[in-house]
């Protein structure tokens, strides 16, 4: 009889504990995060994002389920599928491709994205998606390149599988005739392609588009004799110019949207944020090393000058 009582007690205790645990879990919201790996820019935004979120009370109510797939369409889709299977409340996507992959997988999934490329997202807009986007002013980068050195041929490194980089290529092709440049298209589908692609190419300057693959490939590019412009940051490489949306501001805007959602707002009630927040970084040391002309515009306009 005593033994029975004891057993009952234990049973009650276990069920109580599990109840508490469960009720606690119900309060929490799960945010699935797709953070394409190897792209330092997204990691930087993510760091800022976490810092911003930590400072708020709502952060305690969130579980982050982070997926770090390699940035190719299949891996991104797989990550999205996994998060959908986990039944997360919101999927928070870094970059255009992760967003598109998720929306293709399930169009009614609530999605919040950051660092999305506006023209590329236009076709995939859904009621349940909103986020922070940007559009790089392509003409600025070609103008600055041209003012440093006479550029006849401009190599554009892009990945046809990443629609943002395709839009940028189009834009570059559109403005190059005005600066009397010829565009040389340099397709890379894997980061390792870059060496082969550049082997027999003779260009006066290179632009790396926002393609994740191009960005990863850029990190192999430490010492090079022609000016490189990048539309995403890459500190481990030394692009002479980089022009990209401020990771800190992108993170802050994204955090604001997520917080609004956690407070009960629906994604369609929150406007997309496409405000200007570009940063222009100029590497003076590299420019001097290559003997480039240093235009005053760049010096005054740069948000940061690396010596």
């Amino acid at each position: 009889m005593r033994q029975f009582k004891f057993r009952l007690l234990i049973l009650l205790l276990i069920s109580f504990v599990s109840f508490i645990k469960e009720s606690h879990a119900i309060e929490k919201r799960t945010i699935g995060v797709i953070l394409p790996s190897n792209v330092t820019y997204y990691e930087e935004i993510h760091t800022h994002f976490l810092k911003k979120m930590e400072a708020t009370i709502v952060a305690r109510q969130i579980d982050f389920l982070i997926q770090k797939p390699f940035p190719d369409p299949i891996a991104l889709s797989n990550a999205a599928r996994k998060l959908i299977a986990h039944n997360v409340d919101i999927i928070f996507c870094y970059g255009t491709e992760a967003t598109i992959a998720t929306l293709k997988e399930r169009p009614d999934q609530p999605v919040i994205y950051v660092a999305g490329y506006t023209p590329a997202l236009e076709r995939y807009r859904t009621k349940n998606s909103t986020g922070v986007e940007f559009k790089t002013p392509i003409s600025s980068i070609t103008r600055y390149l041209n003012s440093m050195k006479e550029i006849k041929t401009l190599g554009v490194v892009y990945n046809p599988l990443e629609s943002d980089s395709l839009y940028q290529l189009d834009e570059i092709m559109r403005c190059c005739p005005f600066y009397k440049m010829t565009v040389i298209k340099l397709i890379i589908k894997r980061p390792s392609d870059i060496r082969q692609v550049l082997e027999n190419i003779n260009v006066d300057a290179l632009i790396f588009t926002t393609s994740s693959i191009a960005n990863i490939a850029l990190s192999n590019f430490r010492e090079y004799r022609i000016p490189v412009a990048s539309l995403l940051p890459r500190r481990d490489a030394k692009p002479v110019i980089s022009l990209y949306p401020s990771p800190k501001k992108q993170a802050e805007k994204a955090a604001a949207i997520i917080q609004a959602v956690l407070k009960g707002k629906k994604p369609h009630e929150i406007a997309r944020d496409s405000g200007a927040d570009m940063e222009l970084i100029f590497n003076l040391g590299e420019a001097q090393r290559m003997g480039l002309r240093i235009p005053a515009d760049l010096l005054t306009e740069a948000t940061e000058v690396i010596h």
Binding site: K135, P137, S140, G275, E301
Partner: protein, 291 residues
Amino acid sequence: MRFLLLIISVLILCFSTASFAAEKEILIGLIPEENIFRQMDRYKPLSEYLTSRLGMKTRFTILSRYGDIIDRFITRNLDGAFFGAFTSVLAIEKLGVEPVVRPLNPDGTSSAEGYIFVRRDSNIKDIKDMKGKTIAFVDRATATGYIFALAYFKEHGIKNPLGYFREYYFTGSHDSALLSVLDGKADIGVAKNKIIKERFKKDPVMEQEILIIARSTALPDVTLCLSKKLDRSLKERIKDILLNMDKDPEGRKVLERLGALRFVAASKEDFSIVYNLLKKADIEIKTYKYR
């Protein structure tokens, strides 16, 4: 001993005043408009021309924007300066300077307009869309690069214009305000049309990408104002020389170098339009903190 000292000090005083009188020169300030070395190059022949015509050494000096222009005018003991529309009004009010002449641009105008502009692909079409965006002004002390925009926003019912935006900042130059918008650092920019047009002429892509949302009325451009301390007859001579420069070949060369057709007479009345603007913008010039 004391006597000796006295004699020496008197002698020194005599010499110094004598040398001072001999080296009396006219010093005119220049508000930076472009690359100051180029600007100095442009103005240099004019200083030589004035020196030879006046028989008095005439020199130009760059009036850097650091600190207080008015203080600088006083501490450097300037005899006059080429001011912009707003700084002219400021100098008239605070220093009692007198507008004398202003150069006529090659297109026949001697005025400037302020523009409010955005990137064409930015989805901003009017003042409503500007809410919560980032705006880049030129400087608190410019009519075309700040004051006019302030007046414009107030006119359109925005009581606290600076609070209407997510962020606002001053770029320090008209070029920079334009480039800030082009480079995507700001959504909206405010700057002088002259600079914008020059840029557009050099780079047609810029023109394609910029949408001008509002323009100010014509405001008087760079004007030479002379100090009230300067001898009236000297002022008249300077004015006379400048106004008649285009009539002698040497003067025409100097004007060409300066990038002006000729000088035209300027008066306080030209600035009523600026006073008007200040009123619309609720700015009290005497107490206005432009720094």
